[in-house]
């Protein structure tokens, strides 16, 4: 029982990261009906940029590390801002010119952007193909335990991940449900052309969606790197796909569904690894099995609306 609860907590903190990425997928899908394949790579950029900035400023060297939460915070903030900018640039130059073309074209440019970020990152002058340790030492005391109840340990990292995710999700729901921009976002995702007729600036809303989603992905990347302190240019591939599965699972286009899907996916993955024999070998296959099962059983997802196609 104690072990089970421990597994649940591990699953929740992994699921929270998936949820942060999945929200970006689902928002972009909501407004553009496009799978942003590059989203997982924005997640990667979030983690990699922290390391690059820290090394560039000199807080992390080959033999020394600055032990300072503030320094790490500056790096993280810059990196998240960079991710937002990257999201804006990707939308502006790779997707917007193709907005009125068949969706397949955007899907292919999305794959192109994804490959560009991965291979660009693998270039030795940018990052290089080999994984490098994440400067988790910049955060003194992060490795300890937060508290333990009856033998179930909640580490500070897990606590931090859950707390930050909770705050961001509350912030997101405020932005989407209570602000004017959020109203525009909902209008665009409901009906693209009618929203334009009602005076919503569609280009601005879509850019905003990308910036918001990419920012969250950047945060998720940093949290993921703190939890599994190793970064490389291909680290975004699998979490990206799994987060997409989470978004589909919850009902793509539905933000609450994405969060729910992310949490469930994280739980299922951790539990399967823990309790199925040879589970760890099938770890990455589980997400796909879930994906295919959900597509067969309920393609609209847990909370998604059933859209009937009109002729």
């Amino acid at each position: 029982m104690q072990e089970f609860v421990q597994q649940l907590i591990n699953g929740l903190s992994l699921g929270a990261i998936y949820a942060l990425i999945a929200v970006g997928y689902t928002m972009v899908y909501g407004v553009l009906q496009l799978i942003n394949f590059a989203h997982g790579d924005v997640f990667m950029v979030g983690a990699v940029l922290v390391l690059l900035i820290a090394r560039g400023v000199g807080w992390v060297g080959d033999d020394h590390v600055t032990h300072s939460w503030a320094a790490f915070g500056v790096c993280a903030a810059l990196s998240v801002a960079g991710c937002g900018l990257l999201g804006f640039v990707i939308e502006r130059f790779a997707y917007r010119p193709l907005r009125n073309r068949p969706r397949l074209n955007s899907l292919i440019t999305a794959i192109g952007v994804s490959l560009l970020l991965e291979y660009g990152g693998q270039h030795p002058k940018v990052f290089g193909p080999t994984p490098r340790p994440f400067p988790i030492d910049m955060l003194p005391g992060v490795g300890g335990r937060l508290f333990s109840i009856g033998g179930v340990v909640i580490t500070r990292i897990d606590g931090m991940i859950l707390a930050i995710t909770l705050v961001l999700m509350l912030g997101l729901s405020y932005v989407v449900m209570r602000t004017r921009t959020g109203l525009g976002l909902r209008a665009v995702s409901h009906r693209f052309d009618v929203a334009a007729l009602m005076g919503v600036n569609i280009d601005r809303i879509i850019s905003f969606t990308f910036v918001l989603g990419s920012t969250l992905a950047g945060v998720a990347g940093i949290l993921f790197a703190i939890k599994y302190p190793k970064v490389d240019p291909l680290m975004g591939l699998l979490p990206g796909i799994k987060a997409f599965v989470a978004a589909v699972f919850g009902g793509i286009g539905n933000i609450t569904g994405a969060v729910l899907g992310g949490l469930i996916l994280g739980l299922v993955e951790v539990l399967a690894v823990g309790y199925l024999p040879n589970g760890s070998q099938y770890r990455d296959g589980i997400a796909f099995v879930i994906l295919i099962a959900i597509l067969l059983v309920k393609p609209s997802g847990l909370l998604g609306k059933n859209v009937t196609e009109k002729v």
Partner: protein, 475 residues
């Protein structure tokens, strides 16, 4: 019926009214109205690939033999080989992505199935390509076993579907429970055998699998002597090629079977969902191979006998292109294209859209399997890392660059995109960056690809002027 008749009635009335002479002229012109195909499908008559085939065989096969003979060097011969695989993969994917309009990102999964299911019998049963009957027996036994398994699963699913009236989600829930049960069952049995214990009694499915394994072994054992006798009667000169062809077709059929199993559920999905589902299927195939002991696991299968050479490879290339071409520009091809153009309209005129999509998928998977078999029987060893997502994307890029729907385009793009990375080897660091930027730039600048949906005209239409046949040019 009746409105059509009333449309056709007026012209004779008009033409007969001016004079009797004019009426005679219309009679003389009447046969032209029954002119067949060319006027109905403009351009189709110039799309005949048949005329290119003798030319292709006359040119390609000796060329392949020439390259094989080490005159051009190992490195160039290697590139020519890669072009061969890529042309087969790209042309077969063109059938799925271009002609039927279904965006598959899992083509390499079928290639993996073909590669492994050619390499395993070639290594275990083929006796260095002297025993085609044993290989055939392997595929037959595999077919029987998979058939029984499929029948049981199908029965279980139908059983789950019977309860549809109880609640809409019940079949789905039952399916999920079944999948989880299989997973637990198989893995429990596997860990029991790992620990040297007997498989627990409640592992029903795994016992069934064990039974099937026994059946498989029994078929092998009973057929072995007959197979050896049949193979013994074959002259050695024939046994090798026959064995190789059996391996290619067997591997292709296995991949086609995988395509059928994957396609039947997945092809009910559309667009992006299908892309992700096929990607997932390909990953599941790869992960399964990585965890399969007979297939070598993550270390791969080594010591595979080699038989493929460039002549065989390019023979297969010509056959693939010819087949895909004939399917695309046949009546069935038109039906498949109708599904691509507008699925709702197609189903409204009575086309079973899922069936057409699965057909294209199965044909495409077959040739991907053949490509995999050719690959496996050329490389001495194969590992699951050769069949990752990157490879699928590479093929998708070829199809897209060539122009979705153009077979000529797929062939050209496969050649260009195989040579391009090699040509960029001097700037090796930037090679993949250039490659991926190219993909974006092409999509932005020329979304229809190099060729659009155009094809190479028939040689008569191209060279008719020099051959002195005016008819070929006008047709």
């Amino acid at each position: 019926m009746s409105p059509k008749r009333s449309d056709q009635l007026p012209p004779p009335a008009q033409s007969s009214s001016p004079s009797a002479g004019a009426a005679g002229r219309t009679d003389a012109r009447a046969p032209e109205h029954h002119d067949p195909a060319p006027s109905r499908w403009p351009g189709l008559s110039s799309l005949k690939a048949n005329a290119w085939v003798p030319l292709a065989i006359v040119l390609l096969v000796p060329l392949a033999a020439f390259v094989e003979s080490d005159v051009v060097g190992r490195y160039n011969a290697r590139i020519v080989t890669l072009i061969g695989y890529n042309v087969i993969l790209a042309v077969s994917l063109q059938l799925i992505n271009g002609v039927s309009g279904q965006f598959s990102l899992g083509h390499v999964g079928f290639m993996a199935v073909g590669a492994y299911l050619a390499a395993y019998p070639a290594k275990t049963y083929a006796n260095n390509f002297a025993d085609p009957a044993a290989v055939l027996l392997f595929y037959l036994a595999l077919g029987v076993v998979v058939g029984i398994m499929g029948a049981v699963l199908y029965g279980l699913l139908r059983l789950a579907g019977l309860f549809k009236r109880v609640h809409r989600s019940l079949p789905g829930v039952a399916l999920l429970v079944l999948i989880i049960w299989f997973a637990v069952d198989i893995s429990r049995a596997a860990s029991a055998t790992d620990a040297g214990l007997a498989v627990p009694k409640w592992c029903v499915w795994s016992h069934g699998m064990g039974g099937l394994q026994d059946l498989f072994d029994a078929i092998q054992a009973h057929g072995a002597s007959a197979a050896a006798a049949i193979s013994g009667h074959l002259p050695a000169a024939i046994a090798g090629p026959v064995c190789f062809i059996v391996l290619l077709i067997g591997a292709g059929c296995c991949a086609a079977g995988a395509g059928f199993v994957v396609g039947l559920p997945a092809l009910r999905l559309r667009g992006d969902y299908l892309a992700i589902a096929t990607l997932g299927m390909a990953e599941i195939i790869r992960i399964s191979i990585m965890n399969s002991r007979p297939l070598g696991g993550a270390l791969g299968l080594t010591g595979i006998p080699r038989y493929t050479n460039l002549v065989w490879l390019y023979g297969c290339v010509v056959l693939t292109v010819l087949f895909v071409w004939r399917v695309t520009y046949s009546a069935r091809g038109r039906v498949i294209m109708a599904v691509r153009e507008d699925e709702i309209a197609a189903s409204a005129v009575g086309i079973n859209t899922t069936r057409q999509k699965v057909t294209a998928f199965v044909f495409g998977a077959f040739f991907a399997g053949v490509a995999g078999a050719l690959f496996a029987l050329n490389e001495y060893s194969i590992t699951p890392t050769r069949f990752t997502l990157d490879r699928s994307i590479e093929v998708v890029v070829m199809v897209t660059l060539g122009g979705l729907g153009s077979i000529t385009g797929a062939v050209l793009a496969a050649i260009v995109l195989t040579i391009l990375p090699e040509a960029l080897r001097s700037v090796a660091e930037y090679r993949m960056i250039i490659y991926s930027s190219l993909l974006i730039v092409i999509m932005l600048a020329r979304p229809q690809g190099l060729m659009g949906t155009r094809e190479l005209p028939s040689p008569k239409a191209l060279f008719g002027r020099w051959w002195g046949s005016r008819k070929g040019v006008t047709a």
